[in-house]
Amino acid sequence: MARTKIFALKRPYPRQSWNKHAVYNLFRYRQPTTANRTFFQQKFRAKQETRRFHGEYLTERKWNSMFRHTLRGVVSMDPASMARDDGSSAVSGRGSGNDALPVRLGGRFGRERERERDGRAIPFAQMTFAPLERRLDTAVYRALFASSVRQARMMCLHGKVMVNGVKMPHAGYMLNPGDMFSVDPLLVMRAIGEQSRSLFKRLSTQAKTDLQKAIEEAQSKTKSSTYLKASNTKKVLAGNADAEVDTDTFTAAGVKTASSSSPSETDGGEAAADNKTGKVATTESSPETLETETETKKFYLPSDWRSYLPKHPRWKIYDEWKPKRFMNLFAFIPRYLEVNHHICHAVYLRHPVARSGDAEVPNPFNNEMMQLAYNWYLRRR
């Protein structure tokens, strides 16, 4: 891996990631000026900037071996006009076809036509980095199974990505047209879903107090110290009738009751509990000392405090999945992929192509810049 710090604020570059810093850098990114630069400098700069976006974790040597000067393009044919005409009209006259609307140079009409023609031109230069789209990690990112190419790469390297039902631990595997790749749905939902805060932070102060008391109670009964873990969750969630469902509602209920319950009562109870079992807690299991900002009260919890909580149901994420921040800015699937998010499978249909006025490689740089980068890699500098 080339470098780990990729979201610098001082030297911003667009990166293939949904990270907030990446979004900020993409938002304020402007093309470098080419004024007062030699052609070589322009090309070098274009190569630098584009390579920081496309496969920045690959060495230049690796990418050079993948680069192909042939770029794929398609022309959309009209069957009706092909049926009408055998193509001879395109070369009639002096060899370039009879033009019904000749270009009058300099006139407004002619310039408009030129502009229109430019809009319809096939942006071949945008396909410079098309070979990278064949890579398995990039395809996983494009299929919206990961929130950055590096994350997708990590998924591959950890053996979480399957190609045609076979584990493929090589991020550099070049997909062939028709290859089906898949990732475990739970992993995908966590990767592109809302970041879950740590469980303890989500609990309200009241809930934490309750939890601590309950744990201490449980530990004070030396004989049946584990009954809480095994049997019911109601004891842990004492005082919160709504909280038996799961930790989320537990938190909500805790917030509600926090204002109503008198702090002196809880403090007193806690002190009593502390006197009884404080030593036990410290000696038996290394306690976590956690401090909340609102009240400077210390919570002494055993290291296995999580096991006293009801388990967060695994299926919940299926019903309550929320997208990661800024996901909507990157929520597009290129045409060369067909993705089914129900099962987190995708098919690589064909190699990406450019068509009139449209290129399939997702790319934040304009045509001029890509043209310069392409020229750099032609090795005729």
Binding site: L9, R11, P12, K20, L26, Y29, Q31, P32, G73, V74, V75, S76, M77, P79, A80, M82, A83, R84, D86, G87, S92, I122, Q126, V163, N164, M168, H170, Y173, N176, G178, D179, P185, V188, G193, W315, Y318, E320, W321, P323, F326, M327, N328, L329, A331, F332, R335, E338, N340, H341, H342, I343, V347, L349, V353, D358, A359, N363, P364, N366, N367
Partner: protein
């Protein structure tokens, strides 16, 4: 050291209205400050997160109109015959400006027109192409179950053949998951689809161009050919000169040209359907024969199924085929690429 020149004293008070300076007084262009060490970068980021990020982070866009990165806040088109200023000034009591502005937005119009979305504002050449909706997928599977060929489904639904085939494969996996009682990520799918342009299923959907002819590299070079002046130079002639098949054959859905020809000749619909079904039958027969031939070829020898491999044994004589016994394989050699090139 020469004596310093004293400034002229005759013009102590400069005239405020007219400038006597000869150089340009226009405001200079903003300097590029990208690589300068600015102290406000972190502050700028915090500013962005508080001011601009709420506009950009839209986890559930209204009316499923996708929101992509834009440098300036976009103004959505209003309904025809409405004026934003008038609507805001004459809003009912209790209605905020924002609500009044949102009420007159032409959501239906935006959906119908289905604009071209450019997720990267600097690159106008990349567009977010719509994806097919889940109903569309189900429709493809329904048509497949009605024993229609992939080619025909593709032509009917204006969807590439590769895509149709892929959707059928994916839906087969999904069906298997449902049978196995494995949970589907329906919530994630719907949330993702609400964020991107979508092609809903309609009786005659127009999803994408299905007759995309790949540009052959040999057509990029100029070719000089002397041709009689009186000769009409057709696509057929061009293909012969280039040594390729004509575009009429290379194009996917080349059968549509024949259909159009029949349409233009005024052939009745019954005849067209008849011709088409004959052609389809012929093609199916050809495919079937091809498959049988391949199976016969592959199944020539004995097949031994093991847990991991399916050995197809063919009669062969040692020495004439395969590696020589004792020669090590190169699959662990240094410098040889170990990444497989294909997974069957």
């Amino acid at each position: 050291m020469p004596p310093r020149l004293r400034p002229p004293t005759h013009n102590v008070l400069p005239s405020p209205s007219t400038s006597t300076r000869t150089f340009s007084t226009t405001t200079p262009l903003p300097r590029r400050t990208r690589f300068q060490k600015t102290e406000g970068t972190r502050n700028g980021f915090i500013d962005f997160m508080s001011k601009t990020a709420p506009r950009l982070n839209v986890p559930s866009p209204k009316h499923n109109i996708p929101v992509y990165l834009s440098l300036t806040p976009r103004s959505l088109p209003t309904k025809p015959g409405t004026n934003a200023k008038k609507a805001i000034s004459s809003r009912a009591p209790g209605v905020s400006r924002k609500q009044a502005r949102e009420e007159i937005i032409d959501w239906e119009g935006i959906k119908e027109r289905g604009g071209r979305y450019t997720p990267f504002p600097l690159n106008q050449m990349f567009h977010a192409h719509p994806v097919i909706s889940t109903e569309f997928r189900e429709e493809i599977v329904l048509r497949m179950k009605a024993e229609r060929s992939v080619r025909r489904i593709s032509a009917e639904l204006n969807c590439e053949m590769e895509r149709v085939a892929a959707v059928i494969r994916l839906m087969e996996v999904e069906r298997r998951w449902v049978e196995q009682n494995r949970p589907l990520c329906t919530e994630m799918q719907s949330r993702i689809h609400s964020m991107m342009p979508l092609t809903p299923y309609t009786p005659f959907p127009r999803h994408e161009s299905i007759t995309d002819l790949p540009i052959h590299p040999s057509t990029n070079n100029q070719l000089f050919l002397s041709v009689p002046e009186s000769m009409s130079f057709t696509r057929q002639h061009a293909s012969e000169a280039l040594g390729l098949l004509p575009a009429d054959v290379r194009m996917p859905h080349s059968e549509l040209i024949e259909v159009e020809r029949m349409k233009q000749a005024g052939v009745s619909i019954e005849d067209m359907v008849k011709v088409e079904s004959e052609r389809e039958e012929r093609e199916m027969k050809e495919i079937k024969e091809k498959r049988e031939r391949r199976e016969r070829r592959e199944g020539a020898g004995k097949v031994v199924e093991t847990e991991r491999f399916r050995f197809r044994l063919k009669p062969a004589s040692a020495g004439s085929v395969g590696h020589r016994y004792g020669v090590p394989a190169e699959d662990r050699k240094r410098g040889v690429v170990k990444i497989p090139t294909r997974v069957v």
